[in-house]
Structures are given as structure tokens and as C-alpha cells.
């Protein structure tokens, strides 16, 4: 699915209407997000399908995405990662773990003003390639790293 910038911004427009409810605890995030993320990509059990469903099959390798992850992760149930996209106009970052039962782990959309970077912790079932896809100006860019896992984290 090729989610253009226009629909992404409209997604934020809709979200803005509901934002006042956040503090009141009334907001259902899914309402704001449903138009935007392709949830079926999270149900994909193989990498090729997940990449296809997020529209990243033809992602171009980039040196402008920084991916910090341990070379060896002792605990596969909490592998810390940091991702920084230096590609101007990055609106979305996606995280995939090639060998996980469901490879797509996480996606973030960034509005203007939010830096296209984050830190998170992931579960990794086994040693695997860790893959980041950045969306900028309607194009996908990618970077990957191998992470060795000594104790797998999906059965945890």
C-alpha cells in the first residue's frame, strides 16, 4: 500500500479533532489511526508479505538512517534499539525482525515538529536481521543490521 503524504496529513487532521479528548481518557486512538496504518501487515507471518503490505518491497538502501542495536542481545525479550532518520521529510519509520513469527514489529508516524527518531525495546525470537524502513516524500528507504540473540524472547 502506498500511503501518500496527503492521506497521512488527513489522518492527522482527523486526529486533531479528537485530541482534546486525550486528557479526558475518552480518546480511542484507533479512530485516528485506522485510516492510516495497514493492520494486516502486522498479521503477516513472512517478511515478503509484511514488506509488500507496508509498500516497502522496492525500498532503497540508505546510509542516512541510523540504527543502533546490540550486536549480541543476551535477552531476546527486550532488545533495545534506537532509530534516527536523517532523510529530510521522513514521516514514517517501520521496524521489522525478519525471523520473528510476525516480522512487522512497530511503526511510527511523525508530524512536522516531531523528529523522525525513537527508542524502543523489541522481542526477538532468535538471531535475525533487524530491518528499518523509512518513508519520506512517498519513497521508501531501508537499512538493516544482524542481531545475535542468545536467549529468544517470543516464548518469554
Amino acid at each position: 500500500m502506498n500511503t501518500g503524504r496527503r492521506s497521512f496529513l488527513q489522518g492527522f487532521g482527523n486526529a486533531a479533532l479528537l485530541a482534546g479528548l486525550v486528557g479526558a481518557g475518552v480518546l480511542r486512538p484507533t479512530r485516528a489511526l485506522a485510516v492510516d496504518f495497514n493492520r494486516s501487515a502486522f498479521d503477516s507471518k513472512n517478511l515478503a508479505d509484511a514488506l509488500r503490505l507496508i509498500g516497502a518491497t522496492a525500498a532503497e538502501a540508505s546510509r542516512d538512517i541510523v540504527l543502533k542495536a546490540p550486536e549480541i542481545a543476551e535477552n531476546g525479550s527486550a532488545v533495545p534499539i534506537e532509530v534516527i532518520s536523517q532523510i529530510p521529510g521522513t514521516t514514517r519509520l517501520s521496524v521489522l525482525v525478519d525471523k520473528n513469527p510476525f516480522p512487522l514489529a512497530l511503526q511510527f508516524n511523525f508530524a512536522p515538529g516531531a523528529a523522525a527518531r525513537f527508542q524502543a525495546k523489541l522481542k526477538m525470537a532468535e538471531s535475525s536481521r533487524l530491518r528499518i524502513v523509512a518513508l519520506a516524500g512517498g519513497k521508501h528507504y531501508t537499512v538493516f543490521r544482524e542481531v545475535k540473540v542468545t536467549v529468544g524472547g517470543c516464548g518469554e
Binding site: 502486522f42 527486550a78 510476525f102 512497530l106 527518531r117 525513537f118 522481542k123 518469554e156
Partner: protein, 105 residues
């Protein structure tokens, strides 16, 4: 009831640093209990962060995000006193939300 969401939001210059901790089991659906039965998946699917009521970061999560998700972000054009909101929903329709304020760091 789960533990409350923790928010740490600090400002350096006009750059805001945000850390949010969302207490949640994030059950992957792959784990078995003592009797060998699969524990059903129970995980946050969506999270949204807002700055002064305006959404700035939206996240979609799968089961591979660790239990009690801890995320860090950076926001530009932030000043002390600005409000940061966080809201999540999980695959069972349960929700959580919280609000904090940026402090000079």
C-alpha cells in the same frame, strides 16, 4: 487495574525529550502457561502522543514490542509547561491515557 502510565518530558533549549512507559503485559500469543495452554495474545495496537492537544506521533504496535513498552522521542519547538498527552488502545479494546507537562531539564 494496570499501573499508571509514566511520562518524563524535559526541555533543553527548544528541544523536548519525551520518555513514556506504558504498563502492559504485551502477551505475544506464543507463550504457554504452566498447563501447556497457549496464553492468548494481549497487546497494545495503537499509541498516540499529542503536544498541547495536537497529535504529533502515532504508533502502530505488533506483538514484538516488549512488555511494559518504553519509548523515547524528540519534539522541536517545545517550551516548559507545554502539555504532553499519551493514549493507547489494545487488541481487547482496553484503553489508557495520561497527560504530563514539560519541565526544564
Amino acid at each position: 487495574m494496570p499501573d499508571p502510565i509514566k511520562i518524563r518530558a524535559t526541555v533543553k533549549g527548544d528541544e523536548g525529550e519525551v520518555r513514556v512507559l506504558l504498563p502492559h503485559p504485551m502477551e505475544s500469543g506464543q507463550r504457554r502457561d504452566a498447563a501447556g495452554q497457549l496464553i492468548p495474545a494481549h497487546y497494545i495496537t495503537s499509541v498516540i502522543l499529542s503536544l498541547n492537544g495536537k497529535p504529533v506521533i502515532e504508533g502502530a504496535l505488533g506483538t514484538a514490542v516488549s512488555a511494559n513498552p518504553l519509548f523515547a522521542f524528540q519534539l522541536a519547538g517545545v517550551k516548559a509547561g507545554d502539555r504532553l498527552g499519551v493514549a493507547w488502545v489494545d487488541n481487547k479494546g482496553q484503553r489508557g491515557s495520561a497527560e504530563g507537562s514539560f519541565t526544564a531539564g
